[in-house]
Structures are given as C-alpha cells and as structure tokens.
C-alpha cells in the first residue's frame, strides 16, 4: 500500500502548483460572482442602472410569488429530466458495457454524434416532427390512425422530451463508465451465493453504479435548470423556466439588478439541492456501513 503524503496549505510546493487554478477561479468565477452580487443592491429605472445600494431588488424577489412559481417549475422539470434520463440511460449503458461489445464503438460514435449536433437544429427538428402537420402525424395517419394523434407540441411534455433527448448522453456515458469498471467476479460471487439475476443486479450492480448515477444526475440537473431553448421552442413559451425568466429580465426589461438577483437565487437553490442530495446519499452510505 502506498504511503499517504500529508499535505498542508502551508506546503509551498502545493501552493505554487495550486496558484494557476486559484488565480483562474478567482478572476473568472469568483470576481464575476461578487460583481453579480453587488449588482443586486442597485436599482433599474427607465432602463438605466442606478447605484442606489439598497435592498429594493431583494424585496421584490422575495415578495413576488411568481418568481418562485417559475423556480419551482424549473426544479420539478429538472428533477423529472434526471429521473427519465437515468431510466432510459441505464439499460443502454448496461447493454453497451456488457452485451454489445462487438458494436460498442459504433454505438458510442452514434450517441456522440447525436449529442454534439447543434442543439438548435435538434430542437427545431423535434418541433417539425411533433407538429400537427409534422412527420409523426403523417406517419401515423398513413397507417390508418386518426389525424393529429400526436398533439403534445407546445406542452410541458414536449419540453421534457427535448430536455431528455438533449441531455441523456450525459447519463449514458457516466453510467457506462461505472458499469464498465465493475469487477465481474463480484456479480459471479453473488450468483454463487444463491442470488438470482434481479437480486444480483439490485444488490451488487446498482450500488456499484452509484458514482455514475450521481455524476450523471448532477450534470443533467444543473444543465436542466439552465435550459431555455426547449421550453421556448417545444414548450411554446407558456411555461417559462428560470433561464428564460432571467433572459427576459436582463434583455427585455433591461433590469440588470433583478436579473442578477434571480441568477443568484437559481444558483444557490441548485447548489443547495445538489449538496442536500449528496449529503443524503452520504448518510445512506454511512447507515449501510453501520
């Protein structure tokens, strides 16, 4: 077993090595964040920023329920996207890692191509496909089904479909990595101990996939809360999510302090949810260990 080297922040070698990262984070992340925070204490009047240094913007944010309605809707949609992506991605990743070894690379390339194709192109493609006079209805009616059977464009379901389609690759690849790294002998040991396929899967494979599930979930959740194209194009803009609210506040209302406050609220809530779930999973692990 390799000796662990105790590292301290007083270690000059470590400090020098960490300096570029610290500088980059400070200038490119922390400084803009602090400026955004300071902006929230100003006001916007007649589309112009006024340096007022008061709590007017924050009072507005906490007194208007519709900001929180939209935020709640955003969190719900993001959570639903995570759940659906994981349900879809798991069998694909499992099959990729265990059953379709011969076609593994081809399938990965196909998924990657779908993933890296321009998001605007994909979303408008779905809009055309799901349209009343789109390909889906045309195909269904051509086999004798009633016209306009697919009628969920401009609903939350269409938004969800777009988000799942755009983000499921994150879950597929993180789960694939986790499943690929599972020691097959552990599963065989479970079979030897009398476990059936389902039980071995439930008690061995799934717990060992947790890092992949967690990584994929965090990526998808954080990208989902920032989604704006899907709710706008596929959802018909009638159920706006937080990103669209923020864009509208910055651009249409030219209210930068309010936009900055809404951005910070979204960031804080998102990070809080991620940390909360991280903590819950950690507690569960501790409980299992006990």
């Amino acid at each position: 077993m390799a000796d662990e080297v105790p590292r301290s922040w007083r270690d000059p070698d470590l400090l020098i090595k960490a300096l570029p990262t610290v500088l980059l984070q400070t200038t490119c992340f922390l400084a803009p964040l602090v400026m955004t925070f300071l902006l929230t204490f100003q006001r916007s009047r007649n589309f112009q920023l006024q340096w007022s240094w008061d709590l007017w913007t924050w009072t507005d944010v906490f007194s208007k329920p519709h900001y929180w309605t939209i935020l709640g809707h955003t969190i719900f949609m993001a959570a639903a996207t995570v759940a659906i992506c994981l349900i879809i991605a798991f069998p694909i990743a499992y099959g990729l890692a265990t059953r379709f070894k011969a076609w593994e690379n081809e399938i990965k390339v196909l998924i990657t191509f779908a993933f890296i194709t321009d998001a605007t192109l994909k979303i408008y493609g779905w809009a055309l496909f799901l349209d009343k006079n789109g390909m889906a209805n045309y195909a269904l009616s051509s086999i004798g089904l009633p016209p306009e059977m697919v009628a969920f464009l401009y609903t939350d379901w269409a938004t969800l479909l777009g988000m799942v389609y755009s983000l499921s690759a994150f879950a597929i690849f993180t789960l694939y990595l986790s499943i690929s790294n599972i020691d097959r002998s552990l599963i065989l040991a479970a079979y030897d101990a009398g476990a059936g396929k389902f039980r071995a899967h439930w008690e061995v494979t799934l717990p060992l996939c947790k890092p992949g599930i967690w990584a994929g979930s965090v990526l998808i959740f954080l990208l989902s809360v920032g989604a704006f194209l899907e709710p706008k194009v596929l959802g018909g803009g009638k159920s706006p999510m937080s990103a669209e609210l923020i864009r509208q506040t910055f651009e249409t209302r030219v209210n930068w302090p309010l936009g900055a406050a809404l951005t910070l609220v979204l960031m804080v809530v998102s990070v809080f949810i991620v940390l909360l779930f991280s903590r819950l999973i950690g507690l569960k692990r501790a409980g299992l260990a006990a």
Partner: protein, 393 residues
Amino acid sequence: MTKSWYSDLPQYYQRQIKAAGLDEAGLTRRRLLKGMAATAGVAMAGLSSRPSQAASQMTYMCWEGYNDPRIIDPFRKANDVEIAFDLIVDSPGGFAKLQAGASREVDLVSSDMPWITRLGPAGLAQELNPADYADVYATFYDQFKPPFEPLLNEGKTIGVATRWGWVGPCVNTDLTKPEIWKSYDPVFDDANKGKICVMDWGDWPILPMALHAGIDPYQELDQNALEETRKVLRAMFKNTRTLVADLTQAQKGLLDGSLLGCIGAGSYLTSAVRKQGHKNIIAVVPEPKNGLKQGIIWVEATAILKDTDQPELAQKLLKHVVSKESGHVLSLLDSTCNVVTNKAVEALYTPEERDILQADYMWTAWDNSQMHRIAPNIDDMLAIWQEELAAAQ
C-alpha cells in the same frame, strides 16, 4: 512644441507611427480596440488574408438587413472604409450593450425608434442638426420630416427614421375573414382556444392588448389601468397556443393553419411570406375602439453615437442608409419586407413589390394606429406579463 504619446520612442518607431497615420488622432482606446478587433478578424480568417487596407474603420450596430452587401458595399468602396457589424437580435439587448460600454466602439446604430430615442437621455447619441440632413428629408414622406416628435429628446433630434410598418393581427385569409379582425375580440373568443399565437417580443404583444382594454399605454398609467392590463393579458393567455420569439415558427403556423391569428407582430411578420407568394397571409389593423386607435406604427431609426471618432463618415453612412437605392434594398429583404420613410423609393417598386408590402394599405394602417414610442409604464407591464404568464402555467 507639444509632447505626443510616442515622442519618447526611438526615431525609427516614431517614423513608423507617422507612416501608419496613428500620430494624427492619437492612439485612443477606441482606435486600439478597433485595431484589436481587426487583428482578431484576420486571425480568425486563418491568417491567410492580409490586414485591411481601408483608410478607416467603423462599427455599425444594426438589425440584420442593414448590413446587406447591396447597401454597404457601394458605401465601403466610395469612402474607402471597412465596416464591422454588431448585429442586434432585440432592441433592448442592443441598448443594454451600448449602455454597458459598447457605445465607445460603435459609430452608428439602427434600431427600434423608442430605443434610439432613449439614447438621448442616456447621453449616448449625438444630437443631429436637421439642417445638415435637409437633402435627406427632402425626399421623405411628410409624416417623417422634422420635427418628428417621437425622435426628439428635449427638442433635439436624436436620429433619422428609416423603415416602418404596422402592428396588428396577422391572419391567413383562407382560414379567417379579415373583417372579423376589425377588433381584437377573436383573441378572446372561446372558439379560438388554442389557436392564437402571441409573439414573445417584449412589449409588442402587451401594447395592443392594453389598447384593446381601452388603455393608452403611451400615457402614464395608474394602478387601475395596470390592473385592467393584467386582466386582458390573463384572458389572452387562456386562448394562447404558443408564445414564439422566432418569426418562422409563427409564419409556418399561419401557413399550415395550426394558428388562426398572431398577436404582437404585423407587417414585419407577414411580408416575407407574401414575398414567397403566400398572398393569403396579411397584417391588418383593427378599427379604433371608443376613440382609441388600436393599431401601432413601429419605426426603425438610425442615430450617430456621441463617442464616434468618425463623425463625418457616420453622417455619410446614415444618409446612405436612407437613400433611395438603399431604401429599395432595405424594404425588400429576404428575411422581412417593410416600407421605408423615403418616398422616392415608391417609384422603384413594381406592382408585385407593392403587393408584397401591402403598400396600398399602409396609410389606412397609419390612420388607425398609434405611433410607437416610449411607454412610461412598460416595466410595470412587463412585470405583469411575467406574473400572468407564471400564473397561466
């Protein structure tokens, strides 16, 4: 003898600076930024092309279409100037960008008139002397000649009107009769539930709805008037099938019949489809209701930025943009077709082009419309819009 910024440098470099013409205007921040932009442009072009040989450089912030090569190339060649474009996708966004510091790099801006007028109180636009533009105004429609009140700030002219059109219901005449749209009532008709499209273009759909509620949004509004606006927006959302920010989505919906009418747009939306032969798509203006005109005339205008280091060239470009030849191109673009403020352009239209532009209808639309300008309570109305949209989920 005055000391220049480069006089401490060796003689060789001083000669180079003089040869490059940098000694006359001095190396200002603007010039440095433009130089950097040009260098970056060359780098992006794969380092294969030589740096621009043009005598001067300008930056033009405008809607797509104003940068059409048929408009810009003749000016560029005639004046030996390289023009960089900063294309705006929405007027408030362009204004915000200028306010955030882009006004130091931009020389000329073409945007929606209220946002051009706002450049005045924001201290970003140069005040224009109408006498300097007498040659331009000579060929304008009388309605846009100075003093053109919507473009005045404290009595001073901020910009020159370029292109215009009207806001009213956009409909497909194969599916609905234009007579039905003599008011905005069909928007609230239960029979049209799920058939109404609303443009997600900031204040554009809000203002017609306020007018329908009997409120003049261009006046200072009290709480009661704002509450009436809230009610009419709430009712509108009940029948709304989709809010779209993209013209093509609305155009497609009108063409295929999935949308009966589109609110918050007008000639800007219909003209490009009409150019493609779909003359059944029209933009109408409802009739006045209780003495309140229901249509809205939008105007685009061009202003010169106060910080420009090319005031003469900026003025020349402004005059060029509103000229007869440029106006003809500007009014018949592929993305959108709209009438212009220069009356002389009318002589260049073919009957087909007049039909595309609904030119025979334009003064009817004008007579039944309000002139779009700064709405004092627009921020309150936008906040109400956000609240009602969230409540409609």
